[in-house]
Symmetry: C2
Subunit: 394 residues, 2 copies
Amino acid sequence: MIEKEKAEQVIGILREKGMALWMIFTRETGVNPDPAMQYVLPFNLTWQSALMFFADGEKIAIIGELDRQEVEKVGIFSRIITYRGGIREELLKILEEKSPRSIGLNYSLDDPTSDGLTHGMYLLLQEHLEGTRFIHRLTSAQEIVQALRSRKTPSELERIKRAVEETEKMFDRLTKVLRQGLKEKEVAELFVGWMEELGAEPAWDPSSCPAVFAGPQEVGAHASPTEKAIKEGELLNIDFGIKLDGYCSDLQRMWYFLRKGETAPPPEVIKAFDTIKTAIQLSAEELKPGKKGWEIDKIARDYIVSQGYDEYPHALGHQVGRDAHDGAALLAPIWERYGSLPYIPVEEGMVFTLEPRVNLPNYGVMSLEEMVVIRKDGAEFLSHPQKQLWVIGG
Amino acid sequence: MIEKEKAEQVIGILREKGMALWMIFTRETGVNPDPAMQYVLPFNLTWQSALMFFADGEKIAIIGELDRQEVEKVGIFSRIITYRGGIREELLKILEEKSPRSIGLNYSLDDPTSDGLTHGMYLLLQEHLEGTRFIHRLTSAQEIVQALRSRKTPSELERIKRAVEETEKMFDRLTKVLRQGLKEKEVAELFVGWMEELGAEPAWDPSSCPAVFAGPQEVGAHASPTEKAIKEGELLNIDFGIKLDGYCSDLQRMWYFLRKGETAPPPEVIKAFDTIKTAIQLSAEELKPGKKGWEIDKIARDYIVSQGYDEYPHALGHQVGRDAHDGAALLAPIWERYGSLPYIPVEEGMVFTLEPRVNLPNYGVMSLEEMVVIRKDGAEFLSHPQKQLWVIGG
């Protein structure tokens, strides 16, 4: 079970990073979920709960008494302590007993996926710990959560691979039925049907998963499919991913719709496709453990600009896992909004997208998105990179 | 559209409570959602975003440029400002221009539903505002969010009513097919099928929605259905709710399985049922604007104890709306873990559950859950209260 695998993994990470205790402090996770929860419990907790992982290997859950049965079933906690009135007493008892030198909490300025502790819960914890020595030992567990999310175990990688495989099959299915006149919305509905067939969910907000961009676009990301019909002489870009068994894919593919009489896409369209394909290839070649995300982004970004295009207004790539945007290390430029994420070193076991983009005002968005896993020696593609523009009609 | 209705409502609430600005400060809401987001935008945002509602009526969104198109479509913001590099500059510009005396943020010690701001985002905001006068104007928007969630508009009430109605239909459907030997899991699967038919989702964690309790139980809440088969002489309790069009129901119903030769449930079972029914009735009669939650809980709790039972280990009732546990005012005893929630006055437009419980060691859990809306003069039932124990077999 993946929860057990990850619960073991985190103990090693605590030792490596010199953190004595990682504590998920949460409540009503159905309303206000901590994104780290899904790694340790596959269901929701109601009352204030402290899920504690100690560097000495002990795993203790302090939870409301109504939640006991479910937590027992998961079987990752060596001790399950329940309460009825309030959590404070039990929490202090455990802290006194174990006296951890540092208490890592899920907050982070830069990384949403390790920022699951709410501000109210932080204040509440300070109240609970008032007057004790533990209040001075609270610190960010960002490094712990990031390593836990980023370092995919073999069974996590298996699930991601399957999600990628099934997504690629759906793109192939689409190619067979694509024709001029189809509307963006109609294309999106096909994917919705195929996901249902498979028992998969969209990997992100259903309103833009898939995102379908036919022809010239004003924006070109995070937008819902429209009533626009695909016309000859246009590009079609689809950004799509599924969540299967709790793990995501995130890919983009490109089609061109030939005009009457055309036998191949116009040279400027081919040049843009090749530029994107090459930018992905060049950045993938340098993507290995120890590199910083901004260095990899810069390779793709510089290459695209060198070919006479504007730079893309986003990161080259993000991690993928439980979520499509899996947080932490990011292949991004050094912009204010990315904070420290572009400086985090790439590690073995991380899974990234590579998704540079150029805009062709007369044709549409040109953007591919591939997925890679980082091995000791470099990046290995999880997707089958699109080698040439897929051509429809003519 | 409900988002527009709620966005207007919040302006009135800001004036009433003397708050100059309510600001949802969020990012990557697909990974780390603020529960208040669903009231203003029916989809996810990616980059740091400030959704600002001013008491003067102006509504301003500062968002990443890739999110513009979707936010425009919703049409509730009078100004949409986008950025590429970082939010700080635009945020300070707006604060300088409007100079709000108070800036309400979504954090709360007691109420999960108004505690959507993460601790990392709070620290980040402090960084953005460093050296400005605005850093001293940050405060909790708990009262704003609670009023916004609690005061159901007519169209919100319509949706809740429909969810209740459809849930009651499913209970009736179940009664027709119930028989001894059915397993808890099999009963649960029936509800899953009926939800699919209707296009509804479970109102809470699918692993315990429905929760199905056949016969004597060790715990009796938040637990998943098991392989246990229903036997004669046992009680069946089902706790179930659906989410339909974004709004929830949450109800419990009771069945008794006659032993061979029995023509009615044993007197002690009937007494327990009547105790629960009466506790609901007595507390509903006193449930009106201005009352405190703990006063209402006490009526049911005292009555149950007066009949010779243990008090139930939870609150009498919670609000229902977008979420099954809709936060804020709570019909709960004054226990540490409920913080200030039992002291919040009941208001017109709130929707509550009433769900006292007693445990009958030889028969099972006896618990009903009804739903009421608070009108000017008192509580009006949204559900059709169960009047007698439904009897199967014999």
